[in-house]
């Protein structure tokens, strides 16, 4: 520890006031700690103390490096204690079980939802089908299909509402499914009335020629009208001309507004 290798930026003069707190360490501190550090570092001297300290520091560095390495290894479980490992394993088991349970529950739920949505779809389909059928009966939707056209020309004005009603009944009895007369849809509640010089259906006046558009089986409808003493013969007795035409496609497109009953409510469901 020689004093002659003092660094040049270190004047030796103001030493006493700076060492005020450390007097118990070195009672005769002729050089500062910084100088001692520099002296220890340079020039390197091989002494027993240096070698022993170097050995211990080598061990320290080794341990430090090993520890840092094993800590930064992929598994943080290296170096964990046995009880910690057991606890971690327990937690993992519990968590796995919880997650399995949850998965099972969610799958059940999904299955339930799928089957219920299938059922709802089926119910909706049936409802739509039924609505269409009922709509044809109630006259709220247009209909098309095979059928006949019946045209009654009455130059003398002898055909009354009751003849038309007979015709209609005959058609219904022969299985007509949708009927319109001169653009008026015939439904269950339709009624005929005599107007002056014509016929009224449901309060709407229609004039001749009366044209029935009927959807049904043509092979049944036409003979039903043409039977001896039947509708056609009766009408021809009244000086009317009747023409029946079969057709593969009849369009009944006169519509009727759906009527909501004021008081009656469905009692089912």
């Amino acid at each position: 520890m020689s004093a002659n290798d003092t660094p040049p930026e270190e004047p030796n003069v103001p030493e006493q006031p700076l060492e005020e707190g450390k007097t118990q360490a070195g009672p005769v501190a002729e050089e500062t700690g910084r100088q001692r550090l520099a002296a220890g570092l340079w020039p390197p001297r091989v002494s027993r103390a240096q070698l022993i300290v170097a050995l211990l520091l080598f061990v320290l560095g080794l341990g430090l490096a090993i520890q840092v390495r094993s800590n930064s290894d992929s598994s943080a479980l290296r170096g964990a204690r046995q009880e910690d490992l057991v606890r971690i394993l327990d937690e993992l088991d519990g968590r796995t079980k919880r997650l399995e349970d949850e998965k099972q529950r969610l799958e059940d739920q999904r299955r339930e939802l799928e089957s219920s949505s299938n059922q709802a779809e089926e119910a909706r389909r049936q409802t739509v089908e039924k609505e269409r059928q009922l709509g044809i009966l109630a006259g709220t939707v247009a209909a098309q299909g095979p059928g006949i056209t019946l045209r009654i020309t009455d130059p003398t004005g002898q055909v009354q509402s009751d003849q038309l009603l007979d015709t209609l009944q005959e058609l219904r009895a022969a299985g007509a499914e949708a009927i319109q007369i001169n653009g008026v849809r015939i439904v269950a509640g339709s009624y005929f009335s005599d107007e002056n010089g014509g016929v009224g259906i449901d309060g709407k006046k229609i004039t001749q020629p009366y044209e029935f558009k009927v959807i049904g089986k043509p092979q049944d409808l036409e003979p039903a009208l043409n039977i001896p003493g039947g509708v056609v013969q009766t009408l021809e007795k009244e000086q009317a001309t009747v023409a029946v035409t079969r057709s593969a496609k009849i369009v009944v497109d006169a519509l009727r507004a759906a009527k909501q009953p004021d008081y009656a409510r469905s009692s089912s469901g």
């Binding site: 001692r36 550090l37 240096q50 520091l57 080794l62 204690r81």
Partner: protein, 110 residues
């Protein structure tokens, strides 16, 4: 200077050789390293104070390591291993900080 070189050599060897630590020693290695760090800081402070004695350093280094490992071992046997190692680390950390403060006063005069 030789001592600093020794430290560097230890770090390099530890990183390159990647020796396998036996499983028995593994839990005590971190605590031992912290204890050794405390001894090194104490030695550095003593050197700056001019009262460094190599024998004292060796003894304090080894005893620090052994006592720290022993405390952790005992704690493991008693079932309070993690708490006890936390306590050891706290105490050694406080000592390291106070030693570092003394070193700082020497080196930076502040």
């Amino acid at each position: 200077m030789i001592a600093v070189l020794g430290l560097l050599a230890g770090v390099v060897v530890g990183l390159l050789v990647r020796p396998e630590v036996p499983a028995v020693v593994e839990p005590y290695l971190p605590i031992a390293v912290v204890a050794a760090l405390d001894a090194v800081f104490g030695g550095l402070r003593a050197m700056l104070d001019g009262i460094f004695v190599d024998k004292v350093f060796v003894v304090s280094f080894l005893s620090n390591v052994v006592v720290a490992a022993l405390i952790v071992f005992l704690g493991d046997k008693l079932g309070v291993g993690s708490q006890l190692s936390t306590g050891v680390v706290v105490v050694l950390g406080i000592r390291i900080f106070s030693n570092a403060a003394a070193i700082r006063r020497h080196v930076f005069r502040a």
